[in-house]
């Protein structure tokens, strides 16, 4: 099983947080809330496409009716494989950071 890129982790965690509410606008907002990064929708969907292709998430288009008329949304959910990979990624993170309290720059080091 391959390791996930940081971007992929951010996206998948955002989807995990949002549960049933995970569609384009919400995912984008959530990521901004979590990391302060602001993606364009193009980048957003490109990444989501990639994750869906790998089988970590699934998509589900929904047509909803609101006051302004029809609106299309695509909802995403994590798959089992996705969750497992995410978990692996977290373990990997913790493993590589083990024992380090802070890694600020200190005098004397190069």
């Amino acid at each position: 099983m391959k390791s996930l890129s940081v971007n992929a982790q951010i996206f998948m965690i955002a989807i995990w947080w949002l549960k049933d509410e995970a569609y384009g606008v919400r995912i984008r907002d959530k990521i901004t809330e979590m990391t302060g990064r602001r993606f364009t929708f193009g980048t957003l969907y490109n990444t989501l496409d990639l994750l869906a292709q790998k089988g970590y998430i699934t998509s589900r288009p929904v047509r909803i009716i609101n006051q302004t008329g029809g609106n299309k949304r695509v909802y995403y959910t994590l798959t089992k494989a996705g969750l497992e990979t995410l978990q692996k990624a977290r373990e990997l993170q913790e493993a590589i950071w083990k024992g380090i309290n802070s890694c600020t720059f200190q005098k004397g080091e190069k």
Binding site: R28, Y45, P61
Partner: protein, 869 residues
Amino acid sequence: MKPSPSPPRPATRLIRRLDRYRTNHAIVDDMHEVFSRISREKSFVRACLWYWAQCLDAVAKDLLFKARWGLIMTKNYLIIALRSIKKHRAFSFINIIGLAIGIAVCMLIFLYVDYELSFDSHIIDKKHIYRIVTHINRPEGQEYTGGTPFPTAAAMRSDFPGLKKSTQIYLDSDVMITVGEDRYIEDQALFVETMFFELFCADWIQGTMSQAFNDPYTVILTKRLADKYYGDTNVIGKVLRLNNKFDLRVAGAVSNPPRMTSIPYDMLISWKTLEAYWNSSRLDRWDFIDGDSQTFILLPEYVGTQSLENQFESFEQKYMDSDYAKSWSFRLQPLGDIHFNPRYGSYNYITSRTALYTFSSIGLLILVMACINFINLTTAQAMNRTREIGMRKVLGAHRSQLVRQLIGETSLFTLISILAALLLVRSVLPYLNRFLGNNTELQILSDGRIFFFLGIIYLLVSGLNGIYPSIASTRHPPAETLKDGFSYRRKRAFVFRNSLVLIQFVISQMLIVGTLIIAGQMKFMSKKDLGFRSEEMLTVPIPVYEEARCEALRSRWMQNPHIREVSFAWGAPASRSDFSTPLEYEASGDIVEFPVFIKMCDKRYLKIYQIPLIAGRFFARNANDESDIQWVVSASVTRRMGLSGPQEAVGKRITVNDIKGDIIGVIGDFHEFSLHRELQPTVFFNFWPSNFREAQILLDMQDIGGAISQIQEVWSEFYPEYVFQHEFLDEYIKSMYETESKLMILIQSASFLSILIGCLGLFGLVSIIVIQRSKEIGVRKILGGTAASIYSLLSREFLKWVALANVIAWPVAYYAMHKWLQNFAFRITIGWEIFLISGSAALVISLMTVSFQVIKATSANPVDSLRYE
């Protein structure tokens, strides 16, 4: 509740377009949602700004992406293209040269046609200026002249309120100017009124319009003459002498008129000078038209040409005698028409529209041939690359990409060809300028239009040449091309390419036939006996003829052993000056009247020109006076008089130019004009010796330079105040056929180029077929086919097409050349042998082209073509 605002439409459309390949997304809807949130929370404007920013960002990213990949592929295409050029050096060279020649010819013709069409465009009021021309109704038919009687413009100014701006001009094409001790002959002295400057603007270097021309004897010089005479343009107040008669005061200087003008001039002389210039006052006569006296008017926009022409009739009746008013009628000719209409003549040379069309179509034909040839060669070459194309297809190249690649390659070739063509044009241009004559000055960089033209050629040629080969070679499924390499066994493609070659050979065949017939006619004309001695004759103008003085001059000249005889006359049998007048003859009550040409000469004329005397005698004295009128007529005069033989004419009384006299002799007919015209009846006389304006000198052509310089020396002693000029008669006669000899050179080079390009095309076609049939050739050889049999098998196929092309071309060429020959009163007949020669020439040339490839194919080892790995 008020509906929430929607995002800007064009932006939405843009996003949808960029996103069109993905369907499982909701980008637009998502963006819409964010948009309404921003507009709810902040403002609508902020929302729009955000939306647009997103859009532009997306567009920028998309473009960058495409450019990056496009660049990578272009680089690959370029490498492949250069490699294939390198690999097939000869092929590429032929290809580029063929196209470059086509483009160069097209460019030269564009430059020429553009130059001719720009005539008079420097005149600001060109569209509103008209020339008054005269139609002359004669019993023999209508004649036309661009001239009008001298008082026409003045009368128009006073009679027509709309024609206040009318002006009369007169061109003297032979004046002598004396500046200090130096003498010059000028051929463009224009006499003009002050009004001239209101119609045709002049660019003043010195002086102003108002200063000039209030007085007689004033002149305005162009910069060219000012430089020639004085070395600078500070010329006001200087004095020069006109024809040894008058002093002219220089009143100003103007810049040179452009070469492309129907009203050329080197100097402008005030109109009032004319009255003194001629001893008799011609300026008030309404019964006399000099073709060099012309009227120009500036027509106000509210006057229609038709209604004005209708008013001319009463105008003519008011001023002219009824005879003249009846036969002469004025018409309007637009200034823009003068350069292109041979009917009325012009001060400058005339280029007929037909010639321009012919030029343009020859240029287009050659370009088309070059393109056809290019298509053939490119298609042939693309066949060698079917494997590459197949491989690209397998690797996922879209067909449009392949087409784009091949079109791109073609445009690379076109670009190289255009650069080569530019070089060619640059090196050929000086020769072309000299060839065209008339001081033509074509330049490549005269303006940006040539680049516009080249741009169009570039798009046209690369588009035209790229589309067929690329479509043809990307049409087939990859499996087929990869397996076999050559899958061009389709009949249709063959027919297409063969017919392209067919067209080329039709064109070249027509041009060859044309060349042969024109050459035949030229040879016929140079060999034709003109009825007089045309070689070894030198003509020298004589300013004043006085018998005693000229006899003295003659005897001085005759001391030179190289000068065999001298005669004084109005002009040579064939010369620039001709004068037509009616001859009347009363035969048993009926009056026969017909126009004849008259010539004046002394007693030695007949001998020096070796014109045979048929009956009677020639003049016994050099000059008779008017009390003793004698006529010598040419044989065709006696025929027109209705006499049974020349003997009968001697002693008959005729009236020529209203002068009665007896015919004393009959001489043989001779060609007074070029062979375009029939033999003209001519009458000689020897009174009015002041009209003997030329010495006719017979040289023995031993020491020409020495003889001429001696002639000049003696001449200058006798006429110290004049400028010596001379001309060989045979050169003048040659100049009468200048148009034809130019046409011949043109057609010759066109046919040479078309054969060259046609052979290139044929070469390409042969290469294709030889490659395609290499297996068949191998099998034939193994089964015992001889090289000769295979050779004839292959070449027969091409010769069939060439022969067919000949058969198509012949009737067209025959018809065209038959029409051309109608221009000549004396002409050759088109015989079958011309077609035989041109046909077999085409066959032989194409056979030679084909042989190279075919012999290579027949002599190849069959193992190479049949081996199958």
